[in-house]
Symmetry: C2
Subunit: 303 residues, 2 copies
């Protein structure tokens, strides 16, 4: 039973085959969020704070911290500052996310606990720079299954890339429990086999390589309507195949509910305790919103 332990000074999160699914909150990422990028660049981290608190409140067991897309030169300092700030606000462990090795190093330098480094690829040069850093800090790492040749459309080639990263990590003293593989999710609208590919690959990664897995789940629905409906179904089906964590938005209620139902159905929510508690909270929220509406005299009650 492979268990990947990530920690903060006060909390431990276990990603594992027999553990509840781990949601790594994806919101703190200025890529594609112009306002957030502008603010972070100017040293205004108020939105980062709000995003951190809101995601933990919504059930994220970990948070991903990314400071990309602002300025390559400033990224190490900004990422380190964001990591420090978020650790002062919330107890959940963090994933330190950058394609700039110096930024990963700066983030790890200030991080307290055992972080998840996001990410290393199968490119030789990237492995040679990222893996020593992961080993030095005793961290865990997300291994993305592409290499110098790009992202293969053949999931079995992606399996081989993942295997190579796991083996190389071992050479640096990083055990396979500390390598969490991202099988890479393609948009199903562009590639009809995208779902089956991921399910097949996740199952092989679990059964043959014995590693935990994570993914950016929302990519599956890119370009299609009612994305949340697809994302929720994708997550439960990927959980069936063996996916043990995802970088996702816990504020998306459908996806969050799908994951919780998945945990319940796979036997990872004993006596449905968490399901029942979450349903109660949702009911209370609904009643509060509904009584606010009535206070304003609308007839929304009939809808």
């Amino acid at each position: 039973m492979t268990r990947t332990v990530i920690s903060s000074p006060t909390r431990e999160v276990v990603i594992g085959f027999d553990e509840p699914f781990v949601i790594i909150g994806e919101r703190i990422n200025p890529t594609g969020r112009k306002l957030l990028a502008e603010e972070m660049k100017n040293g205004d981290f108020s939105r980062v704070e709000r995003d951190a608190l809101a995601q933990v409140e919504a059930g994220a067991q970990m948070l991903d911290i990314n400071a990309g897309g602002i300025s390559r030169a400033d990224e190490p300092a900004i990422l380190a500052e964001a990591v420090r700030l978020v650790q002062s606000l919330v107890e959940v462990p963090l994933s330190i996310d950058s394609s700039v090795v110096e930024a990963l190093a700066a983030g790890l330098e200030v991080y307290e606990g055992k972080a998840l480094v996001n990410s290393v690829t199968g490119e030789v040069e990237v492995m040679e720079r990222v893996l020593p850093l992961v080993a030095k800090h005793g961290a865990a790492v997300v291994a993305v299954s592409n290499d110098e040749t790009g992202i293969s459309e053949d999931p079995d080639v992606r399996f081989e890339v993942a295997k190579r990263i796991v083996m190389t990590a071992a050479d640096y003293g990083i055990p396979k429990e500390d390598v969490v593989v991202d099988p890479l999710v393609m948009p199903i609208g562009a590639m009809g086999t995208a779902g089956r590919q991921v399910f097949h690959l996740v199952r092989r990664l679990r059964e043959e390589l014995g590693v935990n897995t994570t993914c950016g789940a929302s990519n599956i629905s890119f370009g299609l309507p009612n994305r949340e409906g697809i994302n929720g179904a994708f997550l439960t089906m990927a959980m069936m195949a063996g996916l043990t964590s995802a970088i996702a938005n816990p504020l998306h209620k459908d996806a969050k509910a799908a994951i919780m139902a998945g945990d319940l159905l796979l036997g990872h929510d004993k006596d449905a305790t968490r399901w029942i508690a979450a349903s109660r909270m949702t009911d209370q929220g609904r009643r509060r919103r509904s009584s606010r509406r009535e206070g304003r005299g609308g007839d929304a009650g009939s809808t």
Copy 2:
């Protein structure tokens, strides 16, 4: 590739491993619907008509027709009447549902096409009475995996019961393609292993016995809050395990959307054609409802 073909005079539905998931509409069933029972007893089938049309409109590819719980003596005539009426209204093939063999016989007598008989169990006496009827009419049959000893809590015992029914059916000349096995779904709130049991059993039924499967999906969430959320996740996960049809309520939007997303992700909705069409219809419905609300002057738009 096992294909179970069910037909009406104008339409063929294929339940199969490489086919879109088949929803068998469950609404026409007076059990637990007092008003419907009363009406059907008095020869008023207006609600049956409305339920038939609404379920087909909502996407049911087949309808289950049940006239149980009214009167054992009258059930054959009432079921036959319901079958005749529904066949005059909608084109989809039917599942004829009764625990009273005479009622199954009466329904089959008037049915036009190849029906699905719901159901036979592994009890010797039941098999001896139902299977000849199925064979005589060249119908298909739902095989429920319990026998004289009841419903085993061990899914591997339920597998053996299903296997025995398939083998006995073969003795009567019914090919295994025409036996659709119901693995029996227990409430997850009462039995924490209920989800994993069904997934395990459905996979064995598909891989070892090579049969199609169906189930009453909503039983999984019995007694728990937010049942639709559990049902939707259960259906997609069961589809991953190999489930090919379900007796369900197509008017439940979450479960319907989950099934459609499941089809999309398993590659049974080429170019996402059906997903996109369904999303358009939902959007139109939402706009219509929203403009009706505005016409009444409520402030529901702000919710």
